[in-house]
Symmetry: C3
Subunit: 139 residues, 3 copies
């Protein structure tokens, strides 16, 4: 069994952002040398998500509107977590709604995806350096 | 290490539907010959979910009511994604709420499940041919 | 390839509860002898979640408030599932919002986590014995 590990770092300019990281994951799969296996991709932070969906600008806005309507950032005082002095209570909840991680199949040395599947890093508390873990196992 | 891959196709008659696919996944586990390992099941489309829960008709209606209340299909114009000419903006969001994929343990050659765990394919933009990927690795 | 399986049992005193199970999972990783691999953690029940986030008391209350606002336990009659005689229709939906399972990377024989990642068992229909499955594969 082979295994491979890589970290990819991000620093978004806005509090929330949605970044297509499929090229970085594809590159990791290639470097791993794994032909048949599984690829786990997850943020190493708890106010961000990795998810799979469409790379379409309107949809990214729809996600952001949906999440902000469901779990508004303000008023900050709404979230008990913010009593710790932080202001990211909403981000911890948004991340749960969008999910933490993605597990993708590797077949014939490539991500085994349908035509529209793209891997995104969703940042809900950005403007600082944060990272994603790619872990691959297989043969 | 062994690996196994199978696609299962669906075409629902209504826009949204919830289909128990446990028999197909069990069959794939058996065909794989894997005794100890992991089984990934995911739609290869971005407007559908694979999830694990109860096969109870009332609950399936509860899920559908909950999702349609949270992310209504209409008005179509509510979703920027639909400016592309599509009408499935809601389906991309519903799929995120229900999740994309399931990873299940395989032990002694069988899905290692509690008594009520059943694998479902949830379709949010149906009436066309769509497929689910089953990928198994282990020994 | 090595594999390891363990069940961990819980019985919460209240209907809903959030329990940090990271120590139990770390212990299982150690017992598995796996240095590089993947660790799946999932409830074997369909009214509970395993998720990764912060061990902060205010946040746990925020999660509970959010879920109860989104999917209130009462009125019981609101959920068709409860026509079966059960009263846990809300719990089946809350579990979907928080997710079923977690897949974590194992690197150098340890959970490959960022500084704040903690694994939680979220119970939405407690006061009875329920269990979590830990399944580890790797080398």
């Amino acid at each position: 069994m082979k295994s491979y590990r890589e970290e990819v770092w991000f620093e978004t300019q806005s509090r929330r952002d949605y970044i297509n990281i499929t090229p970085q994951v594809q590159s990791a799969v290639q470097k791993s040398g794994v032909k048949e296996g599984l690829c786990l991709v997850n943020p190493m932070h708890i106010t961000a998500s990795v998810y799979i969906n469409d790379d379409e600008q309107g949809l990214l806005k729809d996600y952001d509107d949906f999440l902000e309507r469901l779990v508004p950032h303000e008023p900050i005082s709404k979230y008990r977590h913010n009593n710790t002095g932080e202001d990211n209570g909403d981000a911890h909840i948004k991340r749960q709604v969008m999910g933490r991680e993605v597990v993708a199949a590797i077949t014939n040395g490539k991500l085994d995806f349908g035509p529209w599947e793209q891997i995104f890093y969703a940042e809900f508390d950005g403007r600082r350096r944060k990272r994603v873990l790619i872990k691959i196992i297989g043969e």
